[in-house]
């Protein structure tokens, strides 16, 4: 289990990480979200011992992370880096050896992983002969092939098309099943919502959201309403408690100040009988993300 307690780090006068705490258990996925410069990479760097926190502690299995723990870690940096003149096999074996694995142990697994991520290329191909997307997949394989217990992925989905992003999701979920504790950062809330067990959102280095997706969404109440009824948008906008009305063809999307306003809208919409759609939901993660970013600007 990885535990971060009251972690802070500043660079000069800038507070990059401010009193951050969270826990990731084995077999659990934590999605770390936030705008660029929110403190995600700095947090990763402190976990990896690249820099020391000013205050707070990081514990892995109850002790501070040392070089002895490095072999249990898989790390994918935000900016990818491979040796262009190495072959796919040499590259994967080199990084695996740096994680303390023998060539003989990793070599038989390479084809299986290349297949898992559908890499277009042979293990004997040079890295610079592969397309950018395939290079990224090789980098992911090199990060995960030694089946680390703690996996840190900085923006793993960036640059991947939806098909490959789905394959990566499958790969991450497979490692979760194997018992790995996984932290990843992403700007794509769809991926985050789909695979994260819990989410932490950072803004200006501080935790502004924390919990499971349901917990976070429920904090905001069912304030999003989707409606298809024979009403004019002006009438909907005049309802007390409706803060925004957006029309998409015959369909309306309403933002409510309070979820109890939904009943007033329902009664008005069903005055003349049957309506095609009435769906009152909590805001999506994407919407919550935007709201929190907006809050920070105010």
């Amino acid at each position: 289990m990885l535990t971060l307690s009251h972690l802070s780090k500043s660079f000069g006068t800038m507070l990059a990480v401010d009193d951050v705490s969270f826990t990731v258990k084995p077999g659990e996925i934590l999605g770390l979200i936030g705008q660029n410069g929110a403190g995600k990479t700095t947090t990763f760097r402190m976990i990896l011992n690249f820099m020391a926190p000013d205050t707070g502690t990081i514990l892995w299995k109850g002790h501070a992370i040392t070089t002895a723990d490095y072999d249990q870690i898989g790390y994918l940096p935000e900016e990818r880096g491979l040796y262009p003149k190495m072959t796919v096999e040499q590259q994967i074996l080199y990084f695996a050896q740096l994680r303390g694995r023998n060539r003989a142990e990793i070599k038989p697994k390479i084809d299986e992983w290349l297949e898992r991520f559908q890499v277009k290329g042979q293990r004997t191909d040079k890295i610079n002969a592969l397309s950018k997307g395939n290079q990224q997949k090789v980098q992911l394989i090199a990060t995960l092939i030694h089946q680390p217990e703690l996996i840190i992925l900085d923006e793993p989905f960036s640059g991947l098309d939806p098909v490959n992003a789905e394959r990566l999701e499958e790969g991450i979920l497979w490692l979760k099943e194997q018992g790995s504790a996984i932290i990843f950062s992403s700007h794509d809330m769809t991926n985050v919502a789909r695979i994260s067990d819990q989410i932490v959102m950072l803004r200006d280095g501080q935790v502004v959201l924390s919990g499971t997706i349901d917990e976070i969404r429920n904090q905001f109440g069912r304030t999003q309403l989707f409606l298809e009824a024979p009403l004019a948008p002006e009438i909907l906008a005049k309802i007390d408690g409706v803060s925004r009305v957006t029309q998409h063809g015959k369909r309306f999307e309403l933002t409510l100040a309070d979820e109890t306003v939904g009943k007033t809208v329902f009664d008005l919409a069903t005055q003349k009988g049957y309506i095609l759609e009435f769906s009152q939901q909590a805001p999506t993660l994407d919407e919550i993300f935007r709201m929190k970013v907006e809050e920070g600007r105010v």
Partner: protein
């Protein structure tokens, strides 16, 4: 130790297979090959000229045919002027000497073709004069022992004197030639090694840093293991280069000894190999390259992008060039007090002290002191380089290399306050 080996092997194999490393190894071999070829051509033009010798008296003719020197070779078959003229025309000889009596005087004439190789007749002249003197002395009834004394030439033997701590030491043999070879060899090779290996490590580190591979590597191994594995791999490349030259030297000597007058070089090489200057130069070479490599690693870690590497290591190359120039100056001029002091300063001493030792300008005690200072500096600089490496290796800043180095200093000061 396993991860140290993994990084060592990767750095060593990657560089040894690179065209740049092969070119670096080949350039001195090719240069030496060209030099030997040119000298061979020059030696070819210095082959002894083929001459005929003719005298009016048969006894004199026989005496002339006994003459020997490496500058000419006498064709014993030619005994008449007709034979000589014919042989000269057919280019069987390059010229012939004709001694004739005219009015009681012996006149010597040397006939040659217009295109004959140039022949320095002064040696032959001296030999003829000696014969003439011996004849005159015999006619004057001088005793054979006195004639022998008269003919013994005066030879000036050069003696080299070294002044050590006010005492003079006379070398048992003339080592000037050996000293010159060692001095120039040390200066040139040391400069090539320093510039190439310093550039190689800085490039190696900056490439990994710039491509973010460094982050993956440093999440797998400690900074110390990675740093020292790279330095040791560079040292292994240096040793490989030296061993390659030794092997090429041995093989080349065996192949070329038939066609080139290399036997003359053997005593010089033997003397060079046992000379203390050679061994000190070897140790200074390792320490010197390590000093520059460690500093280059430190500078390589301070850059953010690959294109900043040359700018970062330029002060180091400047230092190397200055020590190179110092080495050349000391090879010819040893009485410059400032250079004598500078020769003990690390980063300069690796070239200048072995040159001074080879010239006999400094003794083994002085060289040992310089070596000790360089070793202590190497330990200190390694500590400093590791500090800067740790602070900068994952920091990407556009503020410049020297600001990054200054930031390290500031941070270090804060930690110790």
């Amino acid at each position: 130790m396993f991860k140290f080996k993994v990084i060592f092997k990767q750095v060593f194999l990657k560089n040894i297979k690179s065209p740049a490393y092969l070119i670096m190894i080949l350039i001195p071999i090719v240069t030496l090959g060209i030099t030997l070829s040119v000298s061979r051509l020059m030696n070819h033009s210095k082959e002894p000229v083929r001459i005929g010798v003719l005298a009016s008296q048969p006894a004199e003719q026989t005496e002339l045919q006994q003459l020997k020197d490496k500058t000419y070779q006498i064709d014993q078959q030619i005994t008449t002027q007709a034979q000589a003229t014919k042989a000269l025309q057919k280019e069987q000889i390059d010229g012939y000497l004709l001694l004739s009596e005219e009015k009681g005087q012996t006149i010597s004439r040397y006939y040659q073709r217009k295109d004959s190789p140039s022949f320095d007749a002064s040696i032959l002249e001296n030999q003829l004069n000696q014969i003439h003197l011996v004849t005159l002395a015999q006619q004057a009834g001088v005793a054979p022992e006195q004639i022998q004394n008269l003919m013994t030439p005066t030879v000036i033997a050069p003696v080299t004197i070294n002044y050590q701590n006010g005492h003079q030491e006379i070398s048992r043999e003339n080592t000037k030639e050996v000293s010159q070879i060692i001095s120039i060899g040390i200066t040139v090779l040391m400069f090539i090694f320093i510039v190439n290996y310093a550039g190689m490590i800085a490039q190696e580190i900056a490439t990994e840093k710039g491509s973010r591979i460094m982050e993956i590597v440093l999440s797998s191994v400690s900074i110390e293991i990675q740093f020292f594995a790279k330095i040791v791999a560079i040292l292994a490349l240096l040793v490989t280069q030296i061993v390659t030259y030794i092997l090429v030297g041995i093989i080349g000597f065996q192949i070329l000894k038939q066609s080139l007058p290399l036997a003359e070089l053997l005593p010089v090489i033997r003397r060079a190999l046992v000379a203390p200057a050679m061994w000190y130069a070897g140790i200074f070479l390792i320490i010197g390259v390590l000093l520059y490599t460690v500093l280059a690693a430190m500078l390589g870690a301070a850059v953010s992008r690959m294109d900043q590497v040359q700018q970062a290591i330029s002060p180091l190359i400047l230092l190397g060039t200055l020590s190179y120039l110092g080495g050349f100056l000391l090879a010819s001029q040893t009485d410059m007090p400032m250079l004598r002091v500078v020769s003990y300063v690390p980063l300069f001493s690796q070239i200048m002290l072995p040159v001074r030792l080879a010239n006999g300008d400094v003794g083994t005690l002085g060289a040992s002191m310089g070596l000790l200072i360089a070793m202590v500096t190497l330990i200190g600089l390694t500590y400093l380089a590791l500090l800067v490496y740790r602070r900068n290796i994952l920091v990407y800043s556009d503020k410049g290399i020297f600001k990054a180095l200054f930031a390290t200093y500031q941070q270090h000061k804060e930690w110790h306050q």
